[in-house]
Subunit: 222 residues, 2 copies
């Protein structure tokens, strides 16, 4: 059933475009959930909203601009979700809580997760807003690592390399557990249940061992 | 330009069906590379091969059966590629070589990698051949881990959990480095170059630390 958007009147004229702009984001998100990313178009969004084919173009020059805005909202939702993990006095406990939070977001919001991390970003260089929101999500992890390694300039490399190491692990776990291939690999029965705690334990062992050893920079690895 | 398949004659009649069966796999692979997975159909494969629309059905009951065979070949190519990493007397060095080999396959064969690990398997329970070939690829990793932990029944859980831990890390690294988002995250300049060696170093630290600690099973983690 097409929904109508309040047409501009004399009084709320300034609000109506904002309303349509927002409605386009919601409609695009719903359309992707139902029909997949490939079939998304501004025309389909207009049809869904019961507005003219031209109407969405007032706010989005192209389908990719609207898609970028949809993905940007996913990153905001994701960063807020990570921020809501509660307070942890011990930064290593905080890191564990952040990892579990990452994985539960991926499990609860598979579409949003796939849009953020399993889809080529549309024209990313142009979409500065998307880049900033994605970076903000990574900054949640960096902030925890700065609590562990220190916030100085000298620690920046270690913070970034650990961030990419930990993010890779989380992304791999999220992808593999979602892909539902594990049932077919002849794993021991407890693998499904213990896979994530084991990986989190291994990560914490690596972090603890690295904290007493040389950094990647010191080792001059190439 | 449509290629023709040798029509059956009196002599090589027994070979011709095999030839078409193989030609379908190659044509489907090429079609996916050019047009993406969504548009693959047995009709498109037949058109590409210059055979009748019905011809591929003799060998593949559905598009998904053919797709499963394409993915199965990717797993075989992948397992052979992993096997070709050379001999390493030290199993921990072998593990490092295997990891680097995994990542170079992903970088050199992004389409094949995505078909194996970024695409829902078509009707996997039916496609027993696909499952077996995927399992064989994982068995390459398991074999190295058995060299480290031992090949007994008691070590099976540790082998499988470490396999999933290491695979998750490799899959995350492969996905993130391919996604080309790293340029937009404000990372330190050396992150691109050091990310993989750092992750490999952290993995080896975790493995070394775990070898002197309790197993996940001993800890009774849930």
């Amino acid at each position: 059933m097409p929904r109508t958007v309040t047409p501009p009147t004399t009084e709320p004229a300034a609000d109506a475009p904002v309303e349509l702009k927002e409605a386009c984001v919601r409609a695009a998100h719903e359309f992707i959930a139902e029909h997949g990313l490939e079939r998304l178009s501004l025309r389909e969004v207009a049809r869904r909203l019961g507005v003219s084919h031209q109407a969405p173009y007032k706010h989005y020059p192209s389908r990719d601009h609207l898609l970028a805005e949809v993905i940007r909202r996913c990153f905001r939702q994701f960063a807020d979700y990570l921020d809501d993990r509660g307070e942890h006095a011990d930064p290593r406990e905080d890191l564990g809580a952040l990892g579990r939070r990452y994985l539960s977001f991926a499990a609860e919001h598979p579409l949003e997760y796939r849009l953020m991390f399993g889809t080529p970003w549309p024209a990313p260089a142009e979409q500065l807003g998307l880049v900033e929101d994605a970076r903000h999500a990574l900054d949640v992890l960096r902030a925890v690592l700065r609590r562990i390694h220190g916030a100085g300039r000298a620690q920046r490399t270690r913070v970034d390399l650990d961030a990419m190491f930990i993010w890779s692990q989380m992304h791999g776990l999220a992808s593999i557990t979602q892909a539902n291939v594990m049932d077919h690999l002849g794993l021991v029965p407890q693998a499904g249940r213990q896979m994530v705690p084991h990986a989190m334990h291994m990560l914490s062992l690596a972090m603890a061992a690295a904290s007493v050893g040389p950094t990647a920079e010191d080792r001059g690895s190439a």
